[in-house]
Every structure is written in structure tokens, then in C-alpha cells.
Symmetry: C2
Subunit: 258 residues, 2 copies
């Protein structure tokens, strides 16, 4: 892990890369202590601030944790499921918000993945997961709920469904897909009528999970996907219409800027 060509640009990136490789290759194991910053600086023949920048890069990826004081230092960190969740969610959220991913594409991916969980969840769900799903359905049927709260409850419902599969790797993978959709979902205004339909489908899915009927749960998810996509299409179509009208109106009175 002593690779360091004499290209004097991106030194900190190179050092971070070298250490990262040592970690992923197993050369450095969990909870092992890295050399101190001064030692690393000597080893790589760079200054301490440069080493520090490299370490910060690794800390940002939850690859190491640092501890102050005597016998402190940088330690290889065990990547917890929680850290992995949050990383996955931010990456997915940014990917969707920055790359003009269509609502349909994201929606399709999300429901395809969820359908993959349905049979497992139907088989293994605990009473706790079922209770959570029922509670969220109840919350969603309350009148006076804001659109945001409705979406948050929707996410909670689907997370319970996914967690019911009892496979942490699956939960981790799905966390990104489900949560990253929330900003997109928040753009939708839910009418009372559409909420009712969604709640009905949620109840159907919960029933299927309770009855351990994975196939029916899958069908419920498919129906929910269609419902969601149709709903989004209407909302976006209406919004595009409004935008076009505004454009036409502003044609004769160009007074607005940025």
C-alpha cells in the first residue's frame, strides 16, 4: 500500500485510494489501528495536512473512524447496516434528482424490487411487521393529513413490508429504492379519492402478507404501481398545461426574470 507516483497533484486522493485498497483487500482488518498521521506522512513522504485530507475522504465513506488522545488514531471501521443505509439513500436520492430520471423509470424499478420481496415477506413476516403496516394504513386513512405526512407513512408501510422478508441485505438494497422515491412522490398532490384507492390497495397487500400469500401481494403491488403511475401522469400533465399557459401569457408582457 505504498504506491505513490511522483505526480504531485491529487496526492491526498492517491493516498486515500491506497489505504482504501488496503482495507477492501483485507490487508487491514476491522478495528485495526492505522499508523498515526505523522507516521503516515513520513511513510508517504507528504505533509500531515495532506494525510489528513486523505483520512477525511475515508471517514466520509465510513471506512475509518478516528479517536483523539493517547492511543487514539484512525481505526478501520466496521461498516454498519445503518451507515450503509444512509449512504445508499443519499446516493440514490441524488442520482434520481440530478439525472432527469423519469418518474416512470424510478417507479418501475422500485416496484419491481418490492415484488421481489413479497414472497419472502409473506413467508416470514413477524406480528410486529404486520402491526406496523396496519398502523400506517390507519394513519393514511385519517383526514387532514398533509401530503408530506402521507408520503412518509407510505414509505414506512413499504419499509415494513420489505423488512418483513427478514433479509438485512435485501432491506439495505431496498432502502435506497424506496426512500429515494419520496422527493418525487412529494411532488404529487393526493386527492381524497386517490388516497382512498391507495389505502385500499395497501390493505389488500397487508391482507395478502398476513395470509402468507406472496403471489397475491405481488399482484397488489402491481396494481399499486399502475395506480401510482397513472396518478403521477395526471399530475404532471396538469402541471405541464399550466406551464404552457403561463408561457403564452408572458409572451406579451416580458417582465419576469430569474
Amino acid at each position: 500500500m505504498k504506491i505513490d507516483p511522483k505526480n504531485p497533484a491529487d496526492l491526498s486522493a492517491q493516498i486515500a485510494h491506497a489505504i482504501r485498497d488496503a482495507i477492501v483487500s483485507g490487508e487491514l482488518i476491522v478495528d485495526e489501528r492505522l499508523p498515526s498521521e505523522s507516521e503516515l506522512a513520513q511513510q508517504f513522504q507528504v505533509s500531515r495536512p495532506t494525510v489528513r485530507e486523505a483520512l477525511k475522504r475515508l471517514a466520509a465513506q465510513s471506512l475509518i473512524r478516528t479517536q483523539r488522545g493517547a492511543s487514539g488514531g484512525a481505526f478501520v471501521k466496521r461498516l454498519s447496516y445503518e451507515d450503509a443505509y444512509t449512504q445508499q439513500i443519499t446516493t440514490s436520492t441524488l442520482l434520481l434528482s440530478m439525472n432527469e430520471v423519469s418518474f416512470d423509470t424510478a417507479c418501475e424499478a422500485r416496484y419491481a424490487l418490492e415484488r421481489a420481496c413479497a414472497p419472502l415477506s409473506a413467508e416470514r413476516r413477524s406480528a410486529d411487521h404486520l402491526a406496523t403496516m396496519r398502523a400506517e394504513i390507519f394513519r393514511q386513512s385519517q383526514p387532514g393529513l398533509t401530503d408530506e405526512a402521507f408520503c412518509a407513512s407510505d414509505v414506512a408501510f413499504h419499509r415494513a413490508l420489505v423488512d418483513g422478508a427478514g433479509n438485512p441485505v435485501l432491506s439495505y438494497q431496498l432502502a435506497g429504492a424506496v426512500e429515494a422515491m419520496q422527493p418525487l412522490m412529494n411532488m404529487i398532490t393526493f386527492t381524497a379519492r386517490s388516497r382512498e384507492r391507495i389505502v385500499t390497495l395497501h390493505a389488500r397487500i397487508a391482507d395478502a402478507i398476513e395470509a402468507q400469500d406472496g403471489e397475491d401481494a405481488g399482484h397488489g403491488l402491481s396494481a399499486l404501481e399502475s395506480e401510482t403511475r397513472a396518478l403521477a401522469q395526471n399530475v404532471f400533465a396538469a402541471r405541464a398545461l399550466v406551464a404552457r399557459e403561463r408561457e403564452v401569457n408572458s409572451e406579451g408582457s416580458p417582465e419576469d426574470r430569474t
Copy 2:
């Protein structure tokens, strides 16, 4: 984005968090230039190295890119699919390697997700995807292939299957699940007989995809999952036996140490 309590520890982390929030909330948009390091230092009332460490954290997450020279600086980066892939893969790989995730759990998650892609892939796969799958099957049937090369080809086959769904979000999500399994798969020694069975199943899956029969492709994947898990079980059982024998043998001659 000017939150900065007077807790003088983790300043760089706090600043990184503040800027990150500004990005994910849309306050800073893609390709927008951040203030220069000196300006940020003034704004947050810290020194430039502290700001730099914060920026390195963000760069490690592919949230910003930096450019030297006049009119250079830090810019909000559009998170590309490629960057997202690599992040996803490293996170998944570390999660699996550091958390004693059982082979079965990882395998189950992977095939559940792949089955989710099968119907979409059957519907939309291009000739290119089919050709890749066939080519990898051919490579896998070549004698004299190392176990590592066999695994790599296996990954390529499954990636083609996933990419066939034509949904980049799905491909991104699956990349981690498929590639992160590779180190685990590399622990397996494939006998000629087991390779033959795997190739046969691959061919069956490719046939189903070509015939646009998503259901049959799903069944093929399920069969492949069973095959893989049985194979792994045998390998691990044999390995455990060897380890136990070695332990017994070393009981009378304790001469080995790390």
C-alpha cells in the same frame, strides 16, 4: 447553510454536513460554483485547512468536483450513473465482507432482486444483451478456465441479464447486489460437474429471455439459486471439516502462531 455551533470539535464534519444539506435540498444546483475556500473559511469563521477537509469529504462522496486555476473552485457535481455504481459496489462489498453476512442471506437477496428484473428483461432485451449472454456462456464452458475467470464471466452474464431490462435505476441497484457477491463466490472451487450444471442453467435462462418468457427465466434463476446454495454448502462443510481436523492435529503440537 450557515449553521455552525461553537462546538470546536468536528468542525470540518459540520461544514461538510451543512454544504451537503444545501446540495441535496436543491439550494445549490448542479454545476453551480461554491464560494472559494478562503470565502468559505471567512463565512464559517474557520481556517482554510478546515474548509479543505470538509470539501474533501464531499469530493469523496462525488458530491463536488474541484478545478484549479482562475475561475476554478468547487462545483456541485452531477452524480453520474458510473460514480453511483462504484459507490454502490464498494459499499455493498464492504457490508458483506465486514458483517459476517451468511452466504445464504446474500445469495437469497441477490436472486430475489434478479428475479424482479427477469420479466422486464424478457420483454425488452436487445440483441446486444442476448449476444453478451451467449458469449459469456460460451466462455464459461471452455475448459481450463480459472475459478476467478469463471466467476467474472458469471457476473458479466448476470449484468447483461439485468441491463436487458433497460432500466438504469434497476441496473444501478442490482450492480451492488451482483458484484458484491463476487468475493464470496471466489471462495468456491467449481468442479467440472458443477460448472456444467451452471452453464446449462445459464443457457436455459438465456433461452427464456430470448423467447421473451419472463416466467420461465424466473424459474431458471430459482434453480440456479438452489444450485449455487447447495454448492456453497458443500464447499463450506468440507472446509469446516478440514479446519476441525487441523485443530485436532495441532492439539498435541502447539507450535503455530500468527
